[in-house]
Symmetry: none
DNA sequence: TTGCGTGCAAAGGTTTTGCATGGCA
DNA sequence: TGCCATGCAAAACCTTTGCACGCAA
């Protein structure tokens, strides 16, 4: 018989990283901040390991990766899986950094437009609309 | 009397870089592509010079700088002031990595929708639609 | 002549890779 | 026991900085 081999192992480091990202409740962190957090907590996790977990978690859709405007380094943010992110928009405020989930039928229009007019199949899981949210609009 | 000193000099390199960006008609290039272009054309322009001109042109608003998600390097694009008011979409293919630049009136609909329905001011310069382009759609 | 522009080399900072060892199942 | 995961060090990358020389005005 074929021996079933696991896709991945459960490790202390992987759990720590995911727990930490969850504990931040949606705010974003850089790789540097993550590494320093574990240094302060005296949990030894190499930065290579952090990078590799972040890449995996991003591919799984459990976290999101952002490259904010002027900075050259990436930011990562936990995404609550309780909500199905395929069915709605993500609006990211460039000022306060909050990620807004929006359920709206307009999604279908956008997907349809790009498919029929531009032969492009949008991946809404990955796509993020950047802009300014209500709270951060100047003069309001 | 105060001697008038020029804000900047006109140089061969600066002209070459601006001409090249203009010649691309709005599509995006990385610093690397610019440097290689001049290597191929046997115009010697150091990469430091390229960086410095791009910085200056960006500050002047003659070109735009983008830092796309997932990529670590910046892209630059010439902005024609005659057609400047017209923003555009970015479609990034997740498979082949190509960045497609689309001018389309549908932009106004999207901007209007988010503004009126969700109180969110979209920044189309930063927003990138991820997905699969025509060439990369499986089974076509 | 003045002082900005240029380009080489080196530094600075982030992310990836090679490889031997560690640890999960 | 079989592999994946880990982490150190080094490499790979992109961008910035220092400095002496070049060149526009």
């Amino acid at each position: 018989m074929v021996h079933k081999r696991p896709a991945s192992y459960h490790t202390r480091q992987g759990q720590c990283i995911l727990d930490y990202l969850k504990s931040l409740g949606g705010s974003h962190v850089t790789v540097n901040q993550i590494v320093r957090h574990f240094e302060d907590a005296e949990e030894v996790i190499g930065q290579t390991t952090v990078y590799r977990h972040l890449e995996k978690l991003t591919a799984q859709g459990k976290i999101r990766k952002y490259v904010l405007n002027a900075d050259r380094n990436a930011c990562y943010q936990y995404v609550d899986n309780a909500v199905n992110c395929r069915d709605h928009f993500h609006l990211k405020c460039e000022i306060c950094g909050s990620l807004i989930h929006v359920d709206c039928d307009f999604l279908d229009e956008i997907e349809g437009h790009f498919r029929s007019e531009h032969d492009f199949q949008i991946n809404m899981l990955k796509t993020v609309f950047y802009g300014t949210c209500k709270q951060c609009v100047p003069g309001s």
